[in-house]
Symmetry: C2
């Protein structure tokens, strides 16, 4: 039924958003002594959204946006020492240990014996590659793609390079916006595994009519069994 | 003779280093009012080198390193307004127009009729893709690879994915370190086109014994004729 199964990485195979959540908390604490009256969280979000076109996704983008937001929100009163601590935080995030979700390795190892697997992740090229390497999961994936965005065009280009009909492609991920919607729109299949923490950017509404092409399982441990049952139905 | 010809992009097909040179000049002027006694240029270079392992190559890496160097060199006296102007500079560099080298399009168009062409460029994924798009040259390349570093392992992985023997591969670029040395070491061929401005990082000494596998031409305009003469000799 499926000739290729692709996985998202961040918040699908390993924890990621909680590093950003911690980062946002640290940012708020940093600004506490500056008597900032604007809504910090919202301002950071708007800055990140505005900067995606320059910086794309990832930790460097986050760090640069936090520095910009800190200058704006404090009307230039932020100390250079505090800006330096935002740089330090970025480096800590870039070198943080990979913490796999429970059952991630088992699920991926199990499925890699039955299907060719691909990893599709968006963000900083160097950092995403380093995380894949450090995760110990690289050996299970035939292809690893780091992309600048997960749009329909991105998935179309990947599938076309592999001469693969979307009808034979399944994507597994936590993000309705990046992993599910573009794939089912293309005529592919998707399994949504909601993460406890997901970035608000990754939310999406799925239009009616597409629901029959996507499924939801609660965690990675359920995935092999679910695909088995799907295969038995087909 | 060659089954694939690959081009570097920055400072091979279009101007790039001069944006960084301008950036370094602007940084020096910015620090002029802070009574900095250290060697600014050297400190920036050391900061960039130290940070490659975190940030990789590209404008975001450069901007983050300049902010860090500014804080260090001024012992924290840099104003947040001046840090903001470094952020602005980064965004200007990320959106600067592409200025092709003379003869670049003609050379690439001409060769694309005879060989499959590939573009191999290192840096920020989103920015490098945007530059390729904006250059108008994308249509001449069968493959475009944005890589985090141009090591022997990188070239080996690319060639192995294409099932291509290095003996049939030619790389064209301005950087001895990134475009020439790793390729000839692998058993491939290379054409060096020195750029007027190249980043000091990109210099390298070629060990003896490898010279017969690499050639030098003065500019892109000479490349098609040179390859023609090489083919006639073979």
């Amino acid at each position: 039924m499926f000739r290729l199964i692709a996985f998202d990485a961040d918040d699908t195979l390993w924890h990621n958003e909680r590093l950003y959540t911690k980062g946002r908390d640290r940012f708020r604490r940093l600004l506490a002594s500056y008597d900032v009256h604007d809504a910090i969280e919202e301002y950071v979000h708007q800055t990140e959204m505005r900067n995606i076109r320059y910086y794309g996704f990832g930790v460097m983008s986050f760090a640069l946006s936090l520095i910009e937001a800190a200058i704006d929100l404090t009307h230039g009163r932020i100390s250079s020492g505090d800006i330096g601590s935002l740089l330090d935080m970025g480096k800590e995030m870039l070198t943080a240990d990979i913490d796999l979700f429970e059952g991630a390795e088992e699920a991926v190892a199990h499925l890699s014996a039955q299907y060719p697997l691909m990893l599709i992740t968006k963000g900083d090229l160097l950092h995403q590659q380093a995380k894949v390497e450090q995760s110990g999961l690289a050996k299970y994936f035939r292809h690893v793609e780091v992309v600048s965005d997960k749009s329909e065009a991105t998935y179309r280009a990947i599938l076309s390079r592999l001469h693969l009909d979307p009808a034979h492609f399944l994507m597994v991920g936590n993000s309705l916006r990046s992993d599910i919607l573009p794939v089912v729109r293309l005529g592919g299949w998707a399994v949504h595994i909601p993460a406890e923490l997901s970035w608000s950017y990754e939310e999406a509404e799925l239009p009616g009519g597409l629901h029959e092409r996507y499924f939801e399982v609660r965690n990675l441990g359920e995935l092999p069994g679910f695909l088995e049952s799907l295969r038995n139905q087909a």
